[in-house]
Symmetry: C2
Subunit: 217 residues, 2 copies
Amino acid sequence: MYTLSEENYLKSIYRLSQQLNFKITPTAIAESLKNNPASVVDMIRKLTDKQLIEYDKKKGVKLTPVGLKDAVLIVRRHRLWEVFLLEKLGYHWDEIHDIAEELEHISDATLADRLDKFLGFPEYDPHGDPIPKANGKVPKPYSVTLADLKTGDTCRVAAVKDTSSSFLQYLQKLDIGIGTNIKLLEKIPYDNSLVISISGKESTTVSQKFGENILVD
Amino acid sequence: MYTLSEENYLKSIYRLSQQLNFKITPTAIAESLKNNPASVVDMIRKLTDKQLIEYDKKKGVKLTPVGLKDAVLIVRRHRLWEVFLLEKLGYHWDEIHDIAEELEHISDATLADRLDKFLGFPEYDPHGDPIPKANGKVPKPYSVTLADLKTGDTCRVAAVKDTSSSFLQYLQKLDIGIGTNIKLLEKIPYDNSLVISISGKESTTVSQKFGENILVD
DNA sequence: ATATAAAATTAGATAAGACTAATTTTATAA
DNA sequence: TTATAAAATTAGTCTTATCTAATTTTATAT
């Protein structure tokens, strides 16, 4: 159906389109795929010809209904495989993304649905990202971050925005995972550092950047 | 590590090398991969440069120790995924090969071993082919076919040589799977057709070609 | 032993998807 | 508004893996 590259572009454009009020330019796509903008321009032409995207210099790149449907399916496969790798094969949080990047391209028509069933129809992947349903519906993603809380608030870690292994390994070191309870003890006015208590334990200080990458319930 | 094509060539050469006393020529590889012989000649050069194979016009193509090791790993992955697709995801016998052809190329270093453990270290795949172990050792493959039996002999289906879906669907129709008991009632001298009884039921006649593609215990 | 067929090889073409370098267009700031 | 920077685009190159067509080598049969 699609080539590997086409799928990666579709997925990348979809991910960028999730960032509200963000114009999807060739440069933005190039950065997200670590490609040269010139290559992106070529692929924009190809995907436009195939009616998977529309490109308007003013408005940037936008997925067509068909392009959107298929991009969502790729993301669905990615997130289902992540659940599989973590829950069934015992991988760690920070190892699953790259493998799922490969697995998501397996093209069999019923594979995602069978895997979904096998895994018990999970709603969120191990990073807390919503797993699109077979019909294309996407569960509501989390939007409040740890940095949005007020002093004294308590929350439950629901998802992470940053999925780099350096971030995930830091979380592991701090004993933070999906479901961990965190209380915001203090916000340092100087640089917005956050003093928190993890699972009721002694306090730890983390940066603003850190807090902005943790989504909470 | 390897490109998709390189892996497919390695696997193809390995499979051909399993056929005893068979010289692996460019033409044979071309047929097995449904490629043009000219393309094969190019890839033979490439794999020779990488020291994965040796090519001697007289002796044909041969895997080097390194090439063999890696070819076996690809076959290991293929067969493990086949077990997964059949046992865990509920696919049928004739659907799993093509999907495993894609899955086998997922390159993570520990994936095969984790999958192996998750599946309970199976010795044979759903077609009865031996699954190479993590150390590269390959369990003994079955070698006696239904066509080798003498009239009156009873056997248990252990594996199939042909994995085309037309063959597998025919088997399904005849209610034959791995483990099915078959008794050879008669061999028709004219064309070596076989009259057999499947699971003790009424007799059925199958062709010599059919019998040669069923390996028995 | 030689004609013929089959197999192997070479030469050159093509397509996909990436690149660099040069150019054009658009945005931004003085 | 105009100079400058940034972004987008074009033109042309490269690599991988395929192909076709032509040629050379090897095998086979009379």
